[in-house]
């Protein structure tokens, strides 16, 4: 999957010298140039897009195809608003660090950045970012009828809000679902699991390391966004509550049962190396036909369907998260949203909002997804309406059986915005929990000892 990323300059050229490029440049450039001229769908919004013309804003994003698609449309945004956008690509691990440094020091380097939804509590506690409700309500800045904010996937909107106040607008997101090999399941007469118990039974039935097929794989490597991405869902499905009587609680019987389930599955039915795997590794292994099922982000579908390396195209099916013992399904959700950096001039804030509104609008979402001229199409569009658009659905269903249905059902019914503890101390809590889960998995500590130790460590964090 090679991200299509022409430079800004090539696009500007395409805009001014379309004629010269026809017949010379690749067809994508011609199409993009044609799109360039068509700003009508944006201009139907009853706001003055040019109100901050001349401003320059810097936007930090991560290297990912869904942002590359957006970057390539920046000339259209410039033509629409007169605002120059400089994009800076920062790896996911460092974008948090760099944006927090920028926010603490109030330097206003990044007008907005692709934000980790778990950080909004921290941002809010320090008033580093703007509450966005006033921007949404301001008729000179937002045409509510055109922007249709409610069309954005509710689970992601909730994740980008703190105490009901919105701090970020989701641009692209994901949700974890069950991914399985239809052919292997069919051969043994298995169905995708509806509950965790069946999930284990399926994994056991298909686990055959001698033939280099393992039953399953879950994220094993330690990290707030790695093993602490998948474990919280299990914890919540086993009836765990992060806040018992207002106190952060990470140990106790539910936590022990959840962690025991995770450790058991990983030890018995996952490749040994999976203890160090992150999601790309799981998808890589699955694409090579060595893993029979996994639970991870729906967006991994594009990797396991990459014709350049996948051996299992056409053999993939999808299903919702299996239910836990409580009968609940709790999917892990994620989105990259855009907040407004509070350390900026009012005019810059407005320019930033215009950018956010443009990026999150249905029109731009479509132009970066199924209507994108390049080869990579986004699977994380933020709008319910697009997930119902026949063109988009057709494209997405190319990933395998039940893809759109499973994704939408999960997004609508199986998400829980508090699947991880959303508090300002999250970064430290996430790391502590990740270490605990890893030490239980590696056998360095018993499950109970690992969780009790984590509890001892998180308590002072919550006091401080």
């Amino acid at each position: 999957m090679k991200p299509f990323a022409p430079t800004r300059r090539t696009f500007l050229k395409a805009g001014t010298a379309t004629a010269a490029l026809i017949g010379l440049g690749p067809s994508v450039l011609r199409q993009a140039a044609a799109q360039d001229a068509d700003l009508a769908p944006y201009k139907s919004a009853k706001i003055d897009w040019q109100q901050t013309s001349g401003e320059t804003i810097t936007v930090a994003v991560i290297p990912a195809s869904y942002f590359e698609n957006l970057i390539s449309l920046a000339p259209q945004f410039k033509a629409l608003t007169g605002i120059d956008v400089r994009f800076e690509k920062i790896p996911p691990a460092q974008i948090r660090q760099k944006s927090v440094i920028d926010l603490t020091s109030k330097t206003g380097t990044y007008a907005t950045h692709a934000a980790d939804p778990m950080y909004y509590s921290l941002y809010d506690a320090n008033k580093w970012v703007e509450p966005l409700d006033s921007y949404l309500a301001d008729k000179t800045l937002t045409d509510a009828g055109w922007f249709k904010f409610d069309d954005i996937i509710p689970a992601w909107r909730a994740a980008d809000s703190v105490d009901g106040k919105l701090y970020g607008v989701p641009y692209d997101g994901e949700v974890t679902i069950q991914v399985y090999r239809k052919d292997l399941f069919d051969a043994k007469g298995l169905k995708p699991a509806d509950d965790l118990e069946t999930f284990v039974k399926n994994a056991a039935a298909l686990n055959s390391p001698n033939d280099r097929i393992w039953g399953t794989a879950l994220r094993g490597v330690a990290g707030a966004g790695q093993n602490m991405y998948i474990y919280p869902s299990i914890f919540r499905e086993f009836g765990g509550e992060w806040f018992k009587g207002g106190k952060l609680t990470v140990n106790g019987p539910e936590a022990e049962a959840a962690l025991a389930w995770y450790v058991d599955v990983m030890k018995k039915y996952a490749p040994t190396a999976a203890a160090n795997w992150n999601w790309p590794d799981i998808a890589d292994a699955f694409s090579q036909g060595t893993v029979a099922s996994y639970i991870d982000a729906h967006s991994s579908a594009s990797v396991i369907n990459n014709p350049e390396k996948s051996k299992i195209i056409g053999k993939v099916g999808y299903a919702r998260w299996p239910k836990g013992p409580t009968g609940k399904r709790v999917s892990s959700i994620w989105n990259w949203g855009f907040p407004i950096n509070a350390a900026q001039s009012e005019k810059k804030k407005k320019a930033t909002w215009l950018f956010i509104q443009w990026a999150a609008s249905a029109e731009t979402q479509a132009r970066t997804a199924h209507r994108f001229a390049g080869p990579t199409k986004r699977s994380g569009v933020n709008r319910t309406s697009i997930w119902k658009d026949p063109d988009y659905v057709k494209l997405m269903n190319g990933f395998g059986d039940n893809f759109v249905e499973a994704t939408m059902a999960t997004l609508q019914g199986d998400t829980d915005v508090d699947w991880r503890p959303r508090v300002p101390q999250w970064p430290a809590i996430g790391d502590t929990m990740a270490t605990a889960i890893q030490s239980a998995l590696s056998g360095q500590a018993t499950i109970k000892a690992a969780l009790d130790d984590a509890q001892r460590r998180v308590e002072p964090m919550m006091r401080g």
């Binding site: 999957m1 990323a5 991994s300």
Partner: protein
């Protein structure tokens, strides 16, 4: 005789084992950089495959070319090395030879700057550079790199200067040479090995630095260590390209190492034998 031979074989075997462990990751990167994505993932790992230069072509001339990043790395590393050496050689000589007030304090102060963990000073550095508008500039990054390369170079060089017999300098003075001339003509040729070692290490540290680079760089000045991470996307790791970038990033250091090897070995052994110096 036999015991000696057994010992030799044992030493060779152990050396070979360590060498293998050390060489393996490099060899692995080189192999992977010549594979297609599907060959990278093949199991069992393919030792024989039809090599492709595609990954190299992509990372050098593709849409995410790392050529500008290699240029950034070169400018930063060479700039840092030159300025460091220009300042560290006289400073180290002064600390080793001259008597002046506050010498002890100065020596300690140079070292003290190295006692803070880098993470602790990154925010102040960011703020300072930001205020003077030097974020994402060569001068900004080189300035910060000097803050750790200079103390390191000075302290490494001091030990070499101290190892030179004082009598050599005295002889030069008796012949009427000035201090500068003595330093240039007599001392520096003697510590050539040490200087070569220092150059290599300073260059290496600057070339491999990541933590400061990621925070203080931007779109204009972005060394290859930071750019490399773009091949580990959130969607997937582009193993072949990542390996190709790694190999390209390794090359200059390897070449420098080979060129300077003779001097390094000499420099390291000279530095190791202590006590032969003055006083």
């Amino acid at each position: 005789m036999i015991a000696k031979r057994i010992r030799l074989v044992a030493v060779l075997a152990i050396t070979l084992l360590f060498l293998l462990a050390w060489v393996f990751p490099i060899l692995w990167s080189v192999l992977n950089s010549l594979k297609t994505d599907s060959d990278v993932l093949a199991y069992p790992p393919k030792l024989f495959f039809s090599p492709t230069l595609e990954p190299y072509r992509d990372v050098l001339f593709g849409s995410a070319s790392i050529l500008p990043n290699l240029v950034s790395s070169f400018v930063i590393s060479i700039g840092t090395t030159i300025i460091t050496m220009l300042m560290a050689v006289p400073a180290a000589y002064a600390l080793a030879r001259l008597r002046f007030r506050g010498k002890k304090f100065a020596g300690f102060y140079v070292l003290a700057t190295q006692m803070l963990p880098p993470v602790g000073i990154i925010i102040p550095y960011f703020l300072i550079l930001r205020n003077i508008g030097w974020i994402d500039t060569y001068q900004g990054i080189i300035l910060i790199y000097l803050s750790f390369s200079l103390p390191f170079a000075i302290w490494l060089l001091v030990s070499y200067f101290e190892d030179i017999p004082f009598e050599m300098e005295e002889a030069a003075y008796l012949d009427g040479a000035s201090r500068m001339k003595t330093l240039w003509r007599i001392i520096i040729p003697q510590v050539r090995g040490g200087i070569a070692v220092t150059i290599v290490f300073v260059f290496l540290n600057a070339w491999n630095e990541f933590l400061f680079a990621v925070v203080l760089s931007g779109n204009t000045v972005r060394p290859v260590t930071v750019a490399m991470f773009n091949f580990v996307s959130v969607e997937q790791t582009l193993w072949a390209k990542l390996a190709a970038v790694s190999v390209l990033a390794m090359l200059p250091v390897v070449i420098l190492g080979i060129v300077a090897q003779k001097n390094i070995v000499k420099g390291l052994t000279v530095g190791a034998v202590k006590g032969g110096g003055r006083r």
